[in-house]
């Protein structure tokens, strides 16, 4: 058994589950503490540095952090991380934030970068490159920036004012934006002589359902993302009384709820798969049902029913899910009679694809499987060295926070590339580890563990909200609730740091640990972690969580810590007579574009 190498920053990073799960690695516990302290501007800026759109993401993020949250393993529900982020955005002082924005050099560095698409990925590249002196041109076919954040996320989830503020924060850095400009040729952009080109055009092509009756019913069949965009830009203002929405993702939920707001009386959401397999976030399904949307599972669409040239309903075959030995699902017809649902309109929201008809195939950008560009997973560089991809355009549909993470990495690559460095030379993360000891038994963070259960975010009255497409449904936490919710955070970035030479093996930490994370054990005959896991004081059955194994102690045993349900309460360090355990705050900042130059300067 080898001792754990805690000098590798990824060890402690993985302990901060939320930050580790976040594609942009936002330092979640740090900003939650700042919210609890009422330091909303600081909390906002920490978010802004990492994820660029705190106000947007505080309402619409897919929240990969929350299923990862340790609190969810200790009790029922994770910390409401996403909604706390919104608290920072809601309570920030706009002037202070404006003043905290990075200075944009008036003297440019002479390098020109084109961004194609005005969504989160492109805006993130702009945000990272503008402060470094690049000249940035942005092209988008929509009348305003934001991409799918504007066209696909309805205003009742994301008010335009919030989006405008955070998009303009970047455009105001001096990006020259060309809106209402559809780029129909990559060659034309290349010919303009840009030093680098970033493609952040998303996955704009909705999937269709080619079933009998599709063509005859064309007038009343709408493709999810196109229809949502059309409503957002107010080209479409009405829909029939009875609406069917086909599909089980978040776009389907948005179609359901938008339909209710533009005239539908009854909305049925129909899904092929079992409900448990629906792709939509649980809270999106919950919000839709609260507004009266009915969910139907295991219904496979068979035919659009058309009478007298008009859509009147849809026929579904009933299926059930069966799983083979490998867990692969197949939907098997149950043999029951088909179900017919009447309707006036149907929204098809069964997914979306990438589409690059505008990229000529002879400009040196190689395309691979499924006609997707060949893009490096780390550098986001295409086979044409000065063209980079990010967001949904790179590897298919994901989400806003993933697009932001791509944007940061692509910006690093562009900066390296244009300074003559290898794009493979990725800057190391910025890491610190500092003791939080304030006195003999005092810590500079609130180490007491709150017992509160997760607080629910209040919602606007359903009757009111379905009447107004622009009325925001979620009201956000008030400050008092936010402080209580923030106290649920376990401060996982306050790391338990162990120094084996100081340990006198008194057992105090093992006796006090409320969640039995610690074991002192002889591992001389053990070959690997798999042998060790079942032998701990509480068997370490969650293999996704690390074990810390110390250097050898006086008695040649080692200290082992299972990170799984550590409360970061600091009791081990408080009860340690020799300070062999210490609580140390770990910060991990993903380096951004320009970090290489700084690191080089420091070395010189």
């Amino acid at each position: 058994m080898k001792p754990t190498d805690t000098n590798n920053p990824e060890y402690y990073h993985k302990v901060v589950d939320c930050q580790y799960a976040c594609p942009a690695h936002t330092p979640v516990p740090e900003y939650i503490r700042l919210i609890a302290q009422g330091r909303y501007n600081d909390a906002y800026m920490i978010n802004w540095e990492s994820n660029v759109f705190p106000g947007v993401l505080g309402r619409t993020c897919d929240r990969p952090c929350e299923p990862a949250c340790r609190r969810g393993r200790v009790e029922e529900e994770p910390v409401a991380i996403c909604r706390l982020k919104r608290v920072a955005a809601d309570n920030k002082d706009s002037e202070a934030i404006a003043a905290a924005m990075p200075a944009i050099p008036t003297r440019k560095n002479g390098k020109r970068v084109a961004l194609i698409g005005g969504g989160p990925a492109s805006l993130t590249v702009a945000r990272d490159l503008m402060p470094l002196g690049y000249t940035v041109d942005l092209y988008d076919n929509q009348p305003a920036g934001g991409g799918f954040m504007r066209s696909q996320i309805p205003s009742f989830r994301l008010p335009a004012t919030v989006l405008d503020q955070e998009v303009n924060q970047i455009l105001d850095m001096g990006v020259s934006a060309h809106f209402n400009t559809y780029v129909d040729s990559m060659k034309s952009i290349i010919d303009k002589g840009y030093d680098a080109i970033f493609v952040g055009t998303g996955a704009p092509r909705p999937k269709d359902l080619k079933l009998p009756g599709r063509e005859e019913a064309e007038a009343n069949i709408h493709l999810g993302i196109e229809w949502l965009a059309s409503v957002a830009f107010e080209h479409t203002k009405a829909i029939g009384k009875k609406v069917l929405v086909l599909g089980g993702g978040n776009t389907a939920m948005d179609c359901c709820r938008t339909s209710l707001r533009v005239g539908a009386d009854s909305v049925k959401c129909v899904v092929r798969s079992p409900r448990a397999d629906m792709k939509a976030s649980p809270w999106e399904i919950e919000d839709s049902e609260r507004e009266g949307v009915e969910m139907f599972e295991n219904h496979t669409p068979k035919e659009f029913i058309v009478e007298d040239g008009k859509l009147v309903g849809m026929r579904f075959e009933l299926v059930r899910a069966e799983y083979d030995a490998n867990g692969k699902r197949s939907l098997v017809p149950t043999g029951e009679p088909d179900v017919i649902m009447e309707c006036d309109d149907i929204c098809v929201a069964v997914g979306q694809d990438n589409a690059f008809p505008w990229i000529e195939r002879d400009v040196g950008i190689e395309f691979g499987q499924w006609d997707m560009p060949v893009v490096d997973r780390v550098t986001f560089q295409s086979s044409r060295p000065n063209v980079f991809f990010g967001g949904d355009a790179a590897f298919g549909p994901e989400n806003v926070i993933t697009a932001v993470a791509h944007g940061h990495q692509a910006a690093i690559s562009i900066d390296l590339f244009l300074n003559g460095h290898s794009v493979k030379n990725r800057p190391a993360p910025g890491v610190t580890l500092v003791s939080q000891k304030m006195g003999v038994h005092e810590w500079s963070y609130d180490n007491s563990v709150a017992n509160d259960l997760r607080y629910a975010v209040p919602h606007e009255d359903v009757g009111l909200s379905v009447k107004d497409r622009k009325l925001e449904v979620e009201l956000g936490f008030d400050v008092a609730t936010a402080v209580r919710e923030a106290a649920r955070c376990l401060n996982c970035d306050a790391q338990t740091v162990f120094e084996a030479p100081k340990c006198i093996e008194c057992d105090a930490c093992i006796d006090i640990c409320p969640t039995d994370c610690l074991t002192m054990i002889d591992v001389t005959d053990m070959e690997d972690e798999a042998q060790l896991r079942p032998q701990l004081k509480m068997p370490a059955t969650n293999e996704t969580q690390s074990l810390f194994v110390s250097d050898s102690l006086q008695t040649s045993r080692v200290m082992v810590k299972d990170e799984n349900v550590c409360l970061h309460c600091g009791m081990c360090a408080e009860r340690c007579p020799t300070a062999a355990w210490d609580m140390q705050k770990f910060t991990y900042h993903v380096s951004k574009a320009g970090a290489c130059a700084v690191q080089e300067e420091e070395q010189a």
Binding site: I504, E505, A508, I510, T515, D516, P577
Partner: protein, 350 residues
């Protein structure tokens, strides 16, 4: 300083036959020095009671004065407790036990509380074979008053102040053996694998069960030169054997082949199974225990483990033929048997 332990426990924490988890046997958060051996003994008590599935309300924990005597606050928070006068815990247990023989009595004391101020009380509880578990948390110093040498400090041992102790130590296990204790063991706070089965056997034993637990005082007596520090005790420890406490109807796990084993069946049907490392020891012989202890001491070693037990012991209730029922269960008819019974008694005395 954190005074409250977080409420959350490991989600897979096991439960015992009563459906209780270890959490149900915990007490308040310790205010002893960080690293105190006594906290480990508290944890061993919690573990033992949990594993034995004892209902917390069936236990009375009693103590005197001192660091050790604070510990009953830190375990079995749902049991009865009595923090008595310095050195007087044995009298209080005697009274309580006479009044209600159905409870499990756990006395906790220290080397000062037992070997100095309470020596007289201790001696009489032992010789009467009072049915109780008597744990001494023995750190060889007066921790609560800044670490003066106690009566169990070994000759020549230095506490933090650096002065070697001049006086002969009282070996409490030896005294208990001499005075007729029917269960005698010694252990070390840092060895729960040994201590937990000893506590369980002591709880099951009927009669006076004495466990002397060496428990380092991390603040005043854990320095080089001390014979009761963590490092010294670990380096000088020897065990009579591995004790396995086997409740009734459970299978006995095997010994290593080169060890001799001895089994003692207790009155409640449970079995103490001893895999002996020292095959010269006969745990049923008081003389053997005294001889082995002296032998190890002469070699500068500390003999721990089960030293002696008498499974057929007669406790105080047996000896004086006292009420088979707790006094609170006696009704008026039993307490006032009437004129005829009084007349019989009077006649018998004429």
């Amino acid at each position: 300083m954190t005074y409250l332990r977080p409420e959350f426990r490991h989600p897979q924490l096991p439960v015992n036959e009563l459906g209780y988890s270890r959490k149900d046997y915990e007490g308040a958060l310790s205010t002893l020095c960080a690293g105190c051996g006594h906290d480990s003994i508290s944890a061993a008590v919690v573990q033992s009671m949990f594993e034995m599935s004892i209902e917390p309300h069936r236990v009375a924990k009693l103590s005197g004065i001192g660091c050790s005597s604070k510990t009953p606050t830190y375990f079995l928070g749902k049991s009865h407790g009595f923090n008595s006068v310095h050195g007087r815990m044995p009298s209080v247990v005697t009274g309580a036990n006479m009044a209600n023989r159905d409870l499990i009595y756990l006395g906790v004391s220290g080397d000062g509380d037992t070997a100095s101020i309470g020596m007289g009380q201790f001696a009489h509880a032992v010789r009467r074979n009072l049915n109780m578990v008597y744990i001494v948390m023995n750190n060889g110093c007066y921790g609560l008053t800044k670490g003066q040498d106690s009566a169990t400090a070994d000759v020549g041992s230095c506490s933090k102040k650096g002065e070697p102790n001049k006086f002969e130590a009282i070996d409490l296990a030896g005294v208990a053996l001499e005075l007729g204790a029917t269960f005698v063991a010694r252990s070390f706070s840092g060895d729960k694998d040994q201590l937990v089965p000893l506590i369980k056997a002591a709880v099951s034993h009927r009669g006076f069960a004495f466990i002397d637990v060496i428990s380092p005082c991390v603040t005043f007596n854990n320095n080089p030169g001390s014979t009761k520090g963590y490092e010294f005790v670990r380096d000088h420890l020897e065990a009579t054997g591995t004790v396995d406490f086997v409740p009734m109807r459970e299978e006995i796990t095997a010994c290593y082949p080169n060890q001799t084993s001895e089994e003692v069946t207790l009155h409640d049907g449970s079995v103490v199974h001893l895999c002996k490392m020292d095959d010269k020891l006969n745990v049923r012989s008081r003389n053997s225990a005294v001889e082995r202890m002296k032998n190890y001491k002469d070699r500068g070693r500390i003999l721990t483990g089960l030293l002696y037990m008498d499974p057929d012991s007669q406790d105080l209730h047996d000896s004086i033929d006292s009420s088979k029922k707790p006094l609170r269960q006696l009704g008026e008819k039993e307490l006032c048997p009437g004129v005829a019974v009084l007349q019989n008694i009077n006649d018998s005395l004429r």
